[in-house]
């Protein structure tokens, strides 16, 4: 009798095991869509709409394979540079000129004499505004990665992310000085550049502004290479810069405020000359997640040109009325 009970119980248990396996196999519950370890960035990527005081009014979509740099000259012509091509638009966004360069320009600057300076990996090439190559400066060294060029009245400044230094050249391409080398006596901390984003601009007084992205800092130098001033803002919030290296690019408005662009949390913001956060130009939702190297330019009417290398276009922002 007992034997029989055991047999039946065991058999039933066996069938239950088989049934369980079948059920588990065919009707597996949907694996949980909750990640207990989720890293939430939504909050950081979300920007209060009241902080956004600019509105996108136009777009330029150049026919170019890779788009890297934008610059605007005194008469508000827009110069775009990228792989194998420089494109020049007038202020009404009509394409004026476009010429082949046979190289991939990573950054662009334009002088008052309409000479175009292109940064190509380790050297600078100079073109006139119809595409004639005037000069190719000699390469700096193997480590060089030129990320930005800025022109003052006398000098050409070249930012080299590979050597973590800014070079001062005369307009002929003769090296004058190295700016920003670590010098604790002069209070220069040295540049920290963990990724190839290292931007320059010439301020209203002719001073040189350099981004020190590893320190989330902007530094200004005079033409002798002395540090004049600096400000930094580290914060994961909207009022500062975050991550390993930001801002990636800068531009200046006519009132001396800085326009900054960031990667990681893709956004374009305006900081007052003192460094205080002022407002947002473009919020992260305007960009594809993971966009790097958003170049900036400002024209004489303080319209902000935002170059989106991912979407290969330039968006033009104006202040909301």
């Amino acid at each position: 009798m007992k034997q029989k009970v055991i047999i039946w119980l065991s058999l039933i248990l066996l069938l239950v095991v088989v049934a369980f396996m079948v059920k588990d196999f065919f009707y597996q519950p949907k694996s949980s869509n909750e990640n207990p370890y989720e890293y939430k960035m939504d909050k950081l990527r979300h920007i209060d709409s009241s902080l956004i005081t600019y509105i996108e009014v136009h777009q330029i979509k150049p026919d170019i394979e890779v788009l890297h740099g934008i610059v605007i000259d005194k008469s508000d012509n827009i110069y775009l540079a990228g792989k194998d091509r420089v494109m020049i638009y007038d202020f009404e966004l009509n394409l004026k000129t476009s010429f082949k360069i046979g190289i991939e320009a990573k950054c662009i600057a334009v002088g008052d004499d309409s000479k175009i300076y292109l940064g190509v990996n380790d050297h600078v090439e100079v073109y006139d505004n119809i595409g004639t190559k005037l000069k190719s400066w000699s390469p700096i060294n193997v480590k060089s990665v030129i990320t930005s060029i800025a022109l003052s009245e006398k000098y050409v400044y070249v930012a080299d992310a590979g050597n973590r230094i800014v070079y001062q050249y005369d307009t002929e391409g003769t090296l004058q000085k190295e700016i920003g080398k670590k010098n604790p006596e002069k209070g220069i901390q040295g540049f920290i550049i963990p990724s190839p984003y290292f931007d320059l601009l010439i301020g209203r007084e002719g001073e040189l502004w350099v981004v020190n992205p590893g320190r989330h800092q902007l530094e200004s130098y005079n033409e002798k290479g002395d540090l004049i001033s600096s400000w930094n803002k580290t914060s994961m919030d909207v009022e500062g810069f975050c991550g390993c290296c930001n801002p990636s690019n800068i531009a200046m408005l006519s009132d001396g405020s800085f326009v900054t662009s960031e990667k990681a949390i893709e956004r374009v913001k305006i900081h007052l000359p003192s460094g205080e956060f002022k407002c947002v130009v473009a919020s992260p939702d305007k960009f594809v997640e993971g966009t790097h190297g958003i170049d900036l330019a400002v024209d004489s009417k303080d319209r902000i040109y935002v170059l989106d290398p991912e979407k290969k276009m330039v968006s033009i922002y104006v202040k909301k009325k």
Partner: protein, 622 residues
């Protein structure tokens, strides 16, 4: 020695004791491990919600040192608990294994020692034949159960997976599909072209006389409809009748084309130049006027009252007012709406027999031309945070309602004389504020609607969905524009898409430079005109999207443009009508001020324009 060992081995009592101890021990460890196992999920260090909540709090008062300490302590505790737990499980496992091992050894020894001699049974227990028979029976039963269960599950969950996926693959690549279907499409267009041309011969003089400025496509559309008209009978107007009036939002078929003539191009509200009459409308509303014969209709509503007004088109006299009250199922309180949309945003539609109106609370009613209610019903309050604004349109004895509500979005048609639902088709879309258009594609009539995520076409007679294409997102306000086989859809923050219609719609081009969130675009067979709410008007090539011109106006637009006599009439928010040629170059024709703000789309009659301003209804003409 050997003897002693043997004695131990054969000491059943000893081993039984060992087995019991080991068994109890293993059992306890087993329970402990299971308990621990369930616990480990609870003290998962990542799930310490308390800590996260405290960190949130710390963010608000970063100087609260006590809170900080508390977090650190809690964190330490949680992690300690987690790792202790892991340690316990690991070591518990070893201990359990040890216990089970001892238990097995003890049991094996007991078995050795208490080995019973085999019992030889005298009678053979298992009869082969019996065994075989029973086995056969049960195998058959088992097999039968298997077959039945499998079939039940198979039929319960049958979903034609393969063809579903294949269709999905085809649907997800419209280009490819387009290529495959090219011959079919061509055939259709051929049919469409040959058929009407025959009719054209018969009626050509009449048609050409009436429509000397309409482009060829429209001619084709019209002649095609003339054919249909012969077939159709019943209590509804012919297409010509509809066309000669202005029966819907954005005119005949809702497509932004007016077929009226001698439209004035200049007036001035301030001086009264060309203003024939002006009359105040009792209740506000953002709906636009519609015209039938000598009557012009508008609706107005506030939180307590919904009304339809009929004015004399020539004198401006209010002929009658119909109240939308005492409707069964109508909600007691009005739904919440935004000021920009209001309680009466949808435009009336008329078929010359009756006037149909819908309000933000879902009340829909039909009134005869003399102001008597024919029928009224409530379709359920549209779940719409701004307020329902899709206008009505009529089609051969049907009143078609686009009802893109949050819950149960659908499009349905009511019998125009009884109000009974004739068909209803659910739509997989988000809320929208756009209005339907009716299109004759050459081979059939189609009802086209736009809402996130798609432009969809339905058979207006049956409600059957003909095709759909995903191309839009966001809160869609602008309606569609159609010309020459291409439909245009756009919305702000989305993109502008030109879609070649057909069973397999094909996206011809898209652009996202200039987008609109309120005014609808309008198209001819060559050009598409896009009007943005911030004041830009753009002309595109309808077939390839080339931007011919862009013109910025000082004030933005809410009113939709209408093409009449080859000119675009477009009124800005300030009530200034901008008139320019619907052509490849921007050629202004005139600019006329109403002297009152306006967001409504004007209505046209021969020689007249009717505009609903903020408060007044104007009649403009010479």
């Amino acid at each position: 020695m050997n003897q002693a060992l043997k004695k131990y081995i054969e000491n059943v009592r000893l081993w039984r004791g060992v087995a019991i101890v080991a068994g109890v021990y293993s059992f306890i460890f087993c329970i402990l491990i299971i308990a621990n196992f369930t616990q480990i999920n609870r003290v998962d260090p990542v799930n310490t919600k308390v800590i996260n909540a405290l960190v949130e709090r710390l963010k608000e008062n970063p100087n609260d040192n006590q809170l900080r300490e508390e977090i650190r302590e809690l964190d330490l505790l949680a992690r300690k608990a987690y790792f202790t737990n892991q340690w316990q499980i690991r070591n518990g496992g070893y201990m359990l294994m040890l216990g089970v091992l001892v238990l097995i050894i003890a049991l094996q020894f007991i078995r050795l020692a208490t080995k019973e001699l085999p019992v030889v049974s005298t009678e053979s227990s298992d009869k082969l034949l019996y065994t075989q028979k029973t086995a056969r029976l049960w195998i058959s039963i088992g097999g039968g159960i298997l077959v039945i269960v499998a079939l039940i599950f198979a039929f319960l969950t049958q979903s034609q997976l393969k063809s579903t996926f294949q269709n999905a693959a085809i649907a997800s690549n419209p280009e490819d599909k387009g290529k495959q279907e090219v011959p079919v499409v061509q055939e259709k267009t051929e049919v469409a072209k040959t058929e009407p041309s025959k009719v054209e011969v018969v009626k050509s003089t009449e048609v050409v006389k009436a429509e000397n400025s309409v482009n060829p496509t429209q001619k084709e559309v019209q002649t095609q409809q003339v054919v249909k008209q012969v077939v159709a009978t019943g209590d509804f107007p012919s297409d010509n009748e509809l066309k000669s009036n202005f029966p819907n939002f954005r005119g005949y078929a809702g497509n932004g084309i007016a077929y009226q003539k001698n439209i004035p191009t200049s007036w001035d509200g301030a001086t009264g130049q060309n203003i024939l009459w002006k009359v105040a409308i009792p209740l506000p509303g953002y709906n636009s006027p519609v015209i039938w014969g000598d009557k012009i209709f508008v609706a107005g509503a506030n939180a307590t009252k919904c009304e339809v007004y009929c004015f004399d088109r020539n004198s401006g006299k209010l002929l009658w007012t119909a109240n939308a009250d005492n409707i069964t199922d109508s909600p007691v309180t009005e739904p919440k709406v935004q000021g920009d949309t209001g309680y009466s945003a949808p435009t009336i539609s008329t078929d010359g027999r009756r006037v149909y109106a819908i309000f933000a609370n879902g009340d829909i009613l039909a009134i005869d031309m003399n102001g008597n209610r024919v029928w009224a019903k409530n379709m359920g309050v549209p779940q719409n945070h701004y307020g329902h604004s899709s206008s009505l349109i009529t089609y051969k004895g049907l009143v078609i309602v686009e009802f893109d509500s949050r819950t149960n979005p659908r499009v349905f048609a009511l019998n125009s004389s009884t109000g009974d639902e004739v068909w209803s088709t659910p739509r997989k879309v988000k809320i929208s504020w756009s209005s339907p258009i009716l299109v004759n594609t050459g081979s059939r009539n189609e009802l086209m609607l736009v809402a996130e995520p798609s432009v969809a076409s339905y058979d207006p007679a049956t409600g059957k969905q003909l095709w759909s294409i995903d191309c839009i997102s966001g809160e869609v306000g602008p309606s569609l524009a159609y010309a020459d086989g291409v439909v245009f859809a756009l919305n702000e923050y989305a993109s502008l898409s030109a879609i070649k219609v057909g069973d397999t719609p094909e996206k011809l081009w898209e652009s996202s430079d200039y987008l609109s969130d309120v005014p609808s675009p309008v198209a001819t067979d060559k050009y598409l005109f896009v009007v943005t709410s911030y004041g830009t008007v753009v002309c595109y090539d309808a077939k390839n999207g080339t931007n011919y011109w862009t013109k910025e106006f000082a004030d933005g637009f809410y009113s939709s443009p209408i093409i009449a006599e080859g000119r675009i009439y477009l009124m800005d928010k300030q009530g200034v009508m901008h008139i320019f040629n619907a052509d490849k170059t921007f050629t202004p024709v005139g600019e006329a001020k109403l002297g009152e703000k306006s967001v409504c789309t004007p209505a046209f009659a021969n020689g007249r324009i009717y505009i609903r301003g903020d408060k007044n209804l104007y009649c403009i003409g010479k």
